[in-house]
Symmetry: C2
Subunit: 306 residues, 2 copies
């Protein structure tokens, strides 16, 4: 039997009772170690489970599926994943491979950031498409997430932004050498995410895009750090302020809320230093000013066309 | 301290190790018993925890918050919720009340249907807004969920449909009498949901709505029953076929997938009796025929207007 077991949000005790029983009795237990992080470190997990774990990095999971699934017809093998097992595509790939080999499999679900973000008070069914914000570099600054955020805002839906995680990325230099070397791990902060968003807002404004008024530096955003941990931090403030905020250690997630229900505002207020309703009003005033400016621009353009 | 603890998908052992430790040591433990169900029954939970539980029905949660939070300043009180604590608005309300009373609270997250549906192979970040499909009766047939499904389809996003649960609903007769009596619990099946959807498709077609071609009886839908349980069942078929399908005991959830990624199709194929790609092609052919018919209609209308 092949088990894929969700570990939840990162504390060793976040595993379910069912999951723990299976981990204790399996012949081999792999710990997926590249799409997310165990904030506690794998040694603490080994200690808590009272057994050794095999660290599974990207190379092992993507090209060593046969090794992982080896003899799982006859013995029990578990593959541990931070969050819920279906957070990353690579794990469905492992299950497809198990299916092809006629190895029975079972999935043990757990919390993931996709549902745990409910802790800020926004209702999960008011969320639209989730986006990922990748790190930019000098040559690569993808921005498709921006259009998805705008599309969600247009439909009155909140957006969860998953922030980039770079773990075990080979250094550029080592790509051409024989000895593979790795960059230190990087986890995007809410501050960096908001900085990239802010750059896009201004770029779009300059290019005269019609819908930018829905989203500007005054919009309320919600930063969440270390969700589910004792040191969890949630902060609601303007995008402008979040650029300057430090929510501490990873992992961070960011939410761009659309119009909020009064009950959502009431709950979220505990994470906001200012009056949240006032903040929203200000953002809306900016929005109206933007629309006005835009219409003026469009008017003058159409006049000059006459 | 006030704890809100997610129980996950319904088996007693789906609670996390952290959650179980808290349950064992709390002075009072409430079990929320109306927005969802413990498929196993609360007696099994009491046996597994080795302690009594207080059943909290809608009346207690909505008007007895003070009783639930009583002396939680000085003793530990837990409130157990099937799935994740933030699945239902009522529970954020309890936390707001705790905050008002300066009672510290902690949330223990767990899997919920909102993330566990990943088990069918569709990627969670390809989902749009989640909808709820309520039971219809002779006088009340709300259909706003239909427009949301269409909006998701237009944006290439899958839709999770949460199906109605009626637990402890007072009988119509007892509303005016002193003795409150309750209807037997009802849980909507995928079959009923698809029947209602199918009625809406035909109603919208008759009313000549432009976007109905995105969604017809030939669309592939995915039915999920008892997710996370040993008897879990997943079935992918046409909406038409799902109307006739019996996925057994509750709880059921339904997914209306948009265009699927090849990897999603590959994984989902294991739950489909026919060739999934062929089914999708057929649905698309229907769609094109519908567009053609629609355009013909529009043409003839505009001609008659000339």
């Amino acid at each position: 039997m092949f088990y894929v077991i969700g570990l939840g949000l990162g504390d060793p005790k976040d595993i379910t009772v069912k999951g723990l029983e299976i981990v204790k009795r399996c012949e081999r237990v792999y710990l997926e170690s590249y799409t997310s992080i165990m904030t506690c470190g794998h040694e603490k997990l080994e200690e808590f489970y009272g057994r050794p774990l095999i660290l599974a990095d990207r190379e092992l999971v993507e090209s060593g599926a046969d090794d992982i699934l080896h003899n799982a017809h006859s013995v029990e093998v578990a593959f541990l994943v931070v969050g819920d097992p279906f957070g990353a595509t690579t794990h469905t790939d492992l299950l497809i491979r198990a299916k092809e080999k006629n190895i029975p499999y079972q999935v043990i679900h757990n919390a993931s950031i996709m549902n745990a973000i409910g802790c800020c008070g926004l209702q999960l069914y008011h969320f639209g498409e989730t986006v990922s914000i990748p790190y930019w570099d000098a040559n690569w600054q993808p921005d498709s997430f921006f259009d998805k955020i705008i599309a969600n805002l247009e439909h009155g839906l909140h957006t969860l932004c998953l922030l980039d995680i770079r773990v075990k990325e080979p250094t550029l230099a080592s790509l051409t050498s024989k000895k593979r070397e790795y960059e230190p791990p990087r986890f995007m902060s809410c501050s960096t995410a908001c900085d990239q968003l802010s750059q896009l807002i201004h770029k779009r404004r300059l290019s005269g895009e019609a819908k930018h008024h829905l989203f500007n530096d005054r919009n309320v955003v919600i930063g969440l750090a270390r969700v589910g941990h004792e040191s969890q931090e949630i902060k609601a403030c303007t995008l402008k302020e979040m650029k300057q905020s430090d929510l501490g250690d990873p992992l961070h997630s960011l939410i761009i809320p659309a119009e909020m229900h009064p009950m959502e505002v009431e709950f979220l207020q505990q994470f906001c230093d200012e009056d949240l309703k006032e903040l929203q009003k200000k953002a809306r005033r900016d929005e109206l000013t933007s629309i006005f400016k835009l219409e003026t621009t469009l008017d003058s353009t159409s006049n000059s066309n006459n």
